[in-house]
Each structure stands twice: as C-alpha cells, then as structure tokens.
C-alpha cells in the first residue's frame, strides 16, 4: 500500500475525527500497569509503555463472553430456545497494539477460522477490528520475538504499522482496512521517498535490541513420543503451581470452557477462557483425568505450543515471543529454557527413541 506521515500535532484531532466512524481502543495506564481499554471521547492512547501487562487478546476474545440467551419460563413461546445475542460489530480500531500481539491473532485465527468451522464470536470481533500497530523501539530483555516468527516491527496481522519518528508517526498502511482508518482520521500527507528507508532502519535498530531468543529448528523433525517421554519434565514441572498466569497472559492461548449460567428462569450461555494448567480442564465425566498431575499439564502446555502446533500447521511455534509468561510466572518457569531443552533433545536424537 503506501506510507503516510501523521504529524503528532494532528494526532488528537485526527483521532477525534476517526472516532466518528470507529470505536477506538488503546493502551491506558491504570494504577500499576497498562492495558487495552475503550478510549473515552477525546482520550488519547498512552503510548508510553513497553507492553501491556496482559495481552490484548481479550479485545477479540473476551475472558467471559455471552454467546446465547435462553428462558426457562414455560409460559413463553420461546422457552428453552437458545437465542443469538446482539453484538456490536461496528468498526473499531485498536491503536498501538504491539506487532507481537497482532501476529498472535493470526496464529489464533488458525484455530477459530478453519475450512470446516468458523467461530462466529471470534470472527465477528476480529473482522470488525482494524489493527493499528506501534513499532516496538524498546523491546524488553525478556522479549524473544525475532526467533519466534515475529519481530518488533513485524507487519503480519496489522492493518497499519506506526513508527514513532519524533514529531510525527510514520504510518505504513498495509491493508484496505488500514487505508479506511487513515482516511477516517483525515491524514493525507504522503511520506517522502526516504520514509521506507527510515522505517527499515528503525526496524533494524529495534531488532538489534532483542537480546533473548528461542531455539526451535529441530522441533519439527523431532519424534513426538520421544519429546513426550523426555526425562526433563519432572524437573521442568517441579516449581509449577498450576495457576493460569501463563495461559491467561498469553496472546496465543485460545482454550475456553462453555457454561450455562441461570438465574431464576432466565439464563445465558457463556464462554470463558480456560487453561490447560487447571485440573478441571481435562476432567472426564467418569471422574478420570487423563492429565491428572501437574507434570502432565505442564508438559501439555509446552508440547502444544512447541510441538503439536508446529506439526499441525507448519507455521512455526504457537508463541510470538512477547515474554509475558516469562515475566509473570510466579515461580519463574521460562519457556525459553524449556524450548531450548526440547530443541536440544530433538537434535541429540534421543527424542527419536521411545521409552
């Protein structure tokens, strides 16, 4: 598409204009940390953040979402009939999303939008959203996006990529959706011919700041059962307390639970995030739990992200390297370390031997 310049002095007025045709969301600091919220009229997104504490996946995929409603009142003609709920699918723009978090939606889409099944709740939210990314000039020391199929200025999943160029933003308009958002803001100043080079230089500088990595190249060829039976899982899982911090803060974790919540004679069918770290996640109706110990559960999380996903989709690992699980795990279980162990085992050939 094209590259435009948005002078920062035109940013607030343009956003106010865009708010006429888009619901605007952006990072807002509350108490201790930033999170993505609906912006009030005239409220500006606060770009003075490294990244939000929790991922913005809730924008498309709320932690708790009403799917259907019903009535148990048999005097009503529509009793016991599940009904669609109204959803606001008017256009909205998410401002300042980091490239890692935008890429995560692309990975998650592989689960919610397949030839056989399309998840209407996820898709309607996703499709109504324009992702206006913000290049990441100061990645955290625990970010490893460049080895996780992503990068601080990665464009996959974005409609516009903004780069902070001092008194203005360089806006790389990547899709029709992005062009519509730029038009709604009334920003029309085409960037000069050197803008592409400047953006490339910023990208390069940011990538050079990434000091952390994961090694993944042997995962695909590794023998699944060998990895599954690896001897290191006891050591890896020992510290784990089986909380949901890693999965709930992860932009690529997509598992959910469905619950009916009834009050009196009316009720809602809800979808809530679930976590493979929880014992209830796989508990069968019989009482049997195929993942009955924390070793099973920890192994599942890493095997899903770093092996099953790799094999199933052939699109790399189910991780964008945002580093949240590394930073937030209460007991310091580090996916970079575990990924390295899996990758080394795969390379050593030991993973080919079935115990």
């Amino acid at each position: 598409m094209k590259m435009i310049t948005i002078p920062k002095k035109e940013w607030p007025a343009g956003l106010a204009k865009a708010a006429g045709s888009f619901r605007l969301f952006g990072p807002v600091k509350e108490k201790e940390f930033h999170s993505f919220k609906r912006l009030d009229n005239g409220q500006l997104p606060d770009f003075s953040f490294l990244n939000t504490r929790l991922s913005p996946k809730h924008l498309v995929y709320p932690q708790s979402e009403v799917m259907l409603t019903y009535s148990l009142d048999e005097s009503r003609a529509d009793h016991h009939i599940m009904k669609e709920t109204a959803a606001d699918t008017t256009p909205r723009a998410v401002l300042g999303i980091r490239p890692c978090d935008a890429k995560a939606f692309v990975l998650v889409r592989m689960n919610f939008d397949t030839p056989d099944y399309q998840d209407p709740y996820w898709l309607r939210a996703y499709e109504s959203t324009t992702f206006v990314g913000l290049g990441c000039e100061s990645p955290c020391s625990s970010c490893f996006c460049t080895t996780a199929g992503c990068g601080p200025f990665h464009e996959e999943g974005l409609d516009v990529l903004l780069a902070d160029a001092g008194d203005h933003f360089l806006a790389n308009v990547l899709t029709e959706k992005g062009a519509a958002w730029v038009a709604a803001g009334g920003w029309t100043q085409t960037a000069d011919a050197k803008a592409g080079e400047r953006l490339a230089a910023m990208r390069k500088a940011a990538e050079a700041k990434i000091t952390s990595e994961v090694q993944t190249k042997n995962l695909n060829a590794a023998e699944t059962t060998g990895l599954y039976n690896a001897s290191f899982w006891e050591e890896v899982s020992f510290a784990c307390i089986n909380c949901g911090t890693c999965t709930y803060s992860c932009p690529t974790c997509w598992c959910f639970d469905i619950q009916d919540e009834t009050r009196g004679k009316s009720g809602v069918r809800m979808r809530h995030w679930d976590s493979c770290m929880y014992p209830l996640f796989t508990l069968h109706g019989t009482g049997h739990n195929p993942r009955g110990t924390k070793l099973h559960r920890v192994r599942q999380r890493f095997m899903h992200k770093l092996k099953y996903f790799v094999d199933k989709y052939d699109r790399g690992i189910q991780c964008v390297g945002c580093g949240r699980c590394v930073r937030l795990c209460p007991v310091n279980i580090d996916i970079r370390r575990v990924c390295g162990m899996m990758n080394s085992l795969a390379a050593s050939g030991e993973a080919c031997a079935i115990d």
Binding site: K31, E32, F33, L50, R53, L54, Q63, S64, S138, C140, S141, S142, E235, F238, A239, I241, N242, C243, G244, T245, Y248, S249, D257, Q259, E261, M270, H272, D274, S275, Y278, P279, L280, L283, V326, R327, L328, P330, V331, N332, I333, D334, R336, R337
Partner: protein, 315 residues
C-alpha cells in the same frame, strides 16, 4: 544473607551424600531479575545449583504436600511455620523432613522496586542491606528495608520455628511492629466504603488462581471453585463470582495463614489479597491468642474446643 548460599549447598550436599534425604528442596537462580525458581536437588552435584538471596519469597512448604520421600527443605521463618501447619494437618510427617532453617531478613518486593525505577530493570545486585537495580540509562540503589514485601516488613517470626540445621545464627526479630494497621483502617470504614474498597481491590482479578496455588494451605484435592457437581461458583469475571472466590479462599485460611505473602507475590496483576487473611489472622490473635504454625504440639483453635473459647456470639 548472601553468605547463606554456600552453607545451604554444603548442608544439602552433605544430606544427599549421606543418604539422610532423597531430595533437597530450595531455590535456584532465576532467569529474570528478582526471581528465583523453586528447585529440587537429588544429587550433591545438583545441590550446587541452590541459591539464597532476597528473591526467595515463594513458600517452599507448598512443595511438600503429600510427598513420600525423605526431604531436606530450605525454610525461612514463614516457610517453617507452614511446615509446622503441614505436619499438624497430616500433609507431611516430621520424620520425613530435615529442615534447613534460614534466619530471614525479609524478601524484597519486585513491584515496589520496578515502580521506583524509570525503565525496565535488567539486573539487580544485592549486598548486605541494599539492592541496586540497573537498566538502560539508570542504576538505583535501595535500602532493603525500604523495598521489603509488605508482609516481611511486618514479620515477627523471621527465624525458623523448627529446624534440624541452621544456615546461620538467628537474626534479631523485629520489635514494636504495628502488624494490623491495614486491618484497623479497613475496620474503620463504613460498610459502603469497605465494599467500594474491595470492589476496587479485586477489579483487576483474572481468576488465574495464582494466589490460591502459591499458598501452602490450599491443598484440597478439588477446590470449591473447581467443583462441577454441584458447581458453587461461576467461572468468569462476574464480580460476584470473583468476590466469592476470594472471600472463601481467605476463610479457608483462618487460623492457618502465616502471612508469608506468597499469594500477593504470585498475583500477576498486583492485588493485595492479604487484607482478607490479615483480618482473619488478627481475629485469631484477638480471640484465641493464636498465631499459626508456631508449634507442632498445639492444635489450632478452629479444630479444637476449649472451655475458655470466646462465646460472646451466642445470644
């Protein structure tokens, strides 16, 4: 406190070499600043990975529940009190344990330090009494006493209450600590103010259960929030369900909580859910003169009837 590391390695190595224990539970150095990872060593060589510094705030008693081995466990004051509670509640046997006691000078609060620094902290170096946090373009030194976890600043049981080994001479206990100022301020609120306070407090909760799972007291085979038949609590973010979880979790800790602070420390969104357990801790102290986990020979007030128990609630 830094010199403890060598002594812990020496004791752990000795216990593993002699076969006195099959494993030693302690901490190994973390992969990010101000974090260490609970870790077990099964060989003297592995014991060399054990460390001690001011980032060992996770309560290791949590890792003993229902284990069958003979275990050496590194225990600061609060950990030792939860080990006592575990023994009283039959979650581990005293004979299984070699308690490697650590006289503790408190753990630092990584969030407090992070909030006082202008950017991301990439390294934290500790010397006796202070920590220095460094990041891109800054280096800030803090007196440890100014950045302690809140519970550590109120702690009056820094020395392990039971131990078989001691890594150093006992430290002086803090004197004249006002342990319940926060409880009094909550008590002084009107019900409406208190409700608002609790609503604000719990509003960032994502139901990850890190608080519950970091707690050594929470070992029920199935927690009430995980019960499916019948289901007691909704699974989502309805404030009523969030409150129900937090209130019931706290009540389950009454007379058992040692205010080790593992719950608050583990929370990814910085909720101080200790305000609930502190209130119950104070009630137990006021009503029964009870502090949890001080002796394996005394039954806790909530599982024993004593004629002198307060009966004022019977009208």
């Amino acid at each position: 406190m830094l010199s403890y590391t060598e002594t812990i390695r020496e004791i752990a190595g000795r216990l593993l070499t002699s076969g006195a224990v099959e494993m030693v539970i302690g901490f190994r150095k973390g992969t990010v600043p101000m974090m260490n990872e609970p870790h077990f060593a099964k060989t003297p060589a592995h014991a060399q990975a054990l460390v001690w510094d001011s980032h060992c705030g996770i309560n290791l008693a949590n890792y003993l529940t229902d284990r069958k081995e003979k275990i050496g466990i590194v225990a600061k004051g609060c950990d030792s009190r939860n080990i006592v509670t575990h023994i009283i509640e039959n979650k581990i046997k005293r004979e299984q344990l070699v308690v490697i006691g650590v006289p503790c000078l408190g753990m630092v609060d990584k969030r407090k330090i992070a909030m006082k620094c202008p950017g991301e902290i990439t390294e934290v170096i500790e010397d006796e009494g202070s920590v220095t946090a460094t990041g891109s373009g800054f280096s800030q030194r803090f007196e440890k006493k100014d950045v302690l976890q809140h519970n550590c600043s109120l702690c009056i049981h820094r020395n392990p209450v039971i131990h078989d080994e001691l890594v150093a001479e006992p430290v002086a206990e803090q004197q004249g600590v006002d342990r319940y100022a926060d409880v009094r301020s909550l008590d002084a609120m009107s019900p409406e103010q208190r409700w608002k306070y609790v609503e604000d407090l719990l509003s960032p909760c994502v139901r990850c259960y890190a608080c519950r799972n970091a707690c050594p007291l929470c070992y029920c085979p199935t927690c009430f929030v995980d019960e499916a038949r019948p289901q007691w609590v909704g699974k989502g973010l309805d404030p009523q369900d969030v409150r129900t979880f937090h209130f019931l979790r706290a009540y389950h800790c009454a007379g058992r909580c040692t205010d080790c602070g593992a719950c608050e420390r583990a929370c990814p969104v910085g909720i101080n859910m200790r305000v609930f357990t502190k209130k119950l801790e104070k009630d137990c102290l006021d009503l029964f003169g009870w502090e949890a986990g001080l002796s394996i020979d005394v039954r806790p007030p909530l599982d024993t009837y004593r004629p002198q128990d307060p009966n004022d609630f019977i009208k």
